[in-house]
């Protein structure tokens, strides 16, 4: 059982235990769909939806799941919500669904979600699990937003499709291609580590 206050339970996902920058989880979608802000945002939302509902279900039925088959049960629960998210996007937002492609079904194997079920929801109350899932989701959306904003602005000179850079700006095509994703995330990780070291040494 976690003993943190409700506020701490939420904010730990934003920085201390941020899934992308601190725990290095869920890197595949983080790298793959952040070539435009709209894609990063949609992916962040879809993942949050799956994470929040899976946490709710797992924490409410945790007593009935035998521990030998718990991973398999979590995976089936997660896969169900992913199917819902996938169908929903395909029905109401076909262009987004098309540009995310097979990365929506891939949410199933996103280690953030399975990790939270195993590490948190299976041991804590429904309320706490919800707060934890909300915090982790916000942290994930935040990371997606930062990464995709950097890549879209430098790679295309736009933000959410609106021109933000002047006429003089020559887009860095590399940023919206795969290498740009790796390099941007590498630099962001180093930055996060540096900030963490600075704040630690001050304490």
């Amino acid at each position: 059982m976690s003993t943190k206050s409700i506020g701490q339970e939420f904010t730990k996902g934003l920085w201390d235990e941020n899934p992308v920058f601190r725990q290095l989880l869920g890197l595949c979608p983080t790298l793959a769909v952040t070539n435009a802000v709209i894609n990063g945002l949609a992916m962040g939302m879809a993942t949050s939806f799956v994470l929040i509902f899976s946490s709710l279900v797992v924490s409410s039925i945790k007593k009935f799941i035998p521990s030998q088959v718990r991973i398999a049960s979590y995976v089936v629960i997660i896969a169900t919500f992913v199917t819902v998210a996938d169908r929903f996007l395909a029905a109401f937002f076909p262009p987004i669904s098309k540009s995310l492609g097979p990365y929506v079904p891939l949410i199933v194997v996103n280690c953030i979600i399975l990790g939270r079920q195993e590490a948190f929801s299976s041991k804590n109350t429904v309320g706490r699990s919800l707060i934890d899932a909300l915090g982790m989701s916000s942290g994930f959306v935040l990371a997606m937003l930062i990464l995709s904003a950097i890549r879209e602005i430098l790679g295309m000179g736009t933000f959410l499709g609106y021109q933000v850079m002047g006429q003089w700006f020559e887009p860095w095509i590399i940023m919206i291609l795969p290498p740009g994703a790796f390099i941007t995330l590498g630099i962001l990780l180093a930055l996060a580590l540096q900030i963490e070291r600075k704040t630690k040494s001050r304490k």
Binding site: C28, T80, P102, L106, P178, I183, G186, R197
Partner: protein
């Protein structure tokens, strides 16, 4: 000819790691030594080949005839999880030395998104049975190539003077970025 194109494309042009960002976790985690990188690569290739074949059978003989294709996500993930388990038991019986060599990497493959992506992609592109298997082998070899190259670079990196904050994942990702840049050069090979 078609099959050769699928094979080469899967290894070099649409490399799973460097183009689709799949299997980043083992790519970063198991790439510190060349030996373990080779074992991991071969284990993935092995499971990918079998997954490609089995998921094709499930998709074309069960899901599509029964119009259950919306259950693809759930059924593929279950197939992969049980398959990895089966392969593990099989290898342990048939070839203990190989089992020893693969060790912990085998169960880890279940959570490798590359395998799941492979099953989805083969169904999305409507590959025939043979094409699926070739796609599986090629993708596995592509993963092996990427992870072994990465391990070779990282063994050298150990001797380099890397800034404190970039150590570990940071520098590994930047190296991967430069590798991805190099692999982009292959994209003109096949139209």
């Amino acid at each position: 000819m078609e099959l050769v194109a699928i094979f080469v494309t899967a290894i070099l042009i649409n490399n799973f790691v460097l183009r689709y960002f799949l299997g980043i976790c083992p790519f970063l985690g198991v790439s510190k030594k060349i030996d373990s990188a080779i074992s991991m690569g071969l284990a993935v290739t092995f499971v990918m080949t079998i997954t490609a074949a089995v998921s094709w059978v499930i998709n074309h003989w069960i899901l599509i005839p029964l119009k259950l294709d919306y259950l693809q996500i759930v059924s593929f993930i279950l197939v992969i999880a049980s398959l990895v388990q089966l392969v593990e038991m099989f290898i342990r019986k048939i070839s203990p030395p190989l089992y020893e060599a693969l060790g912990i990497y085998l169960p880890l493959i279940t959570t490798n998104c590359a395998i799941f992506f492979l099953a989805l992609m083969a169904s999305l592109r409507d590959y025939s049975f043979l094409e699926s298997v070739i796609f599986g082998v090629g993708s596995g070899l592509g993963f092996t190539l990427a992870i072994v190259l990465m391990a070779a670079i990282r063994e050298q990196l150990d001797l380099a003077d890397v800034p404190e904050a970039l150590k570990g994942a940071g520098i590994a990702l930047i190296v991967a970025g430069i590798m991805a840049l190099a692999f982009l050069g292959f994209s003109g090979m096949i139209k």
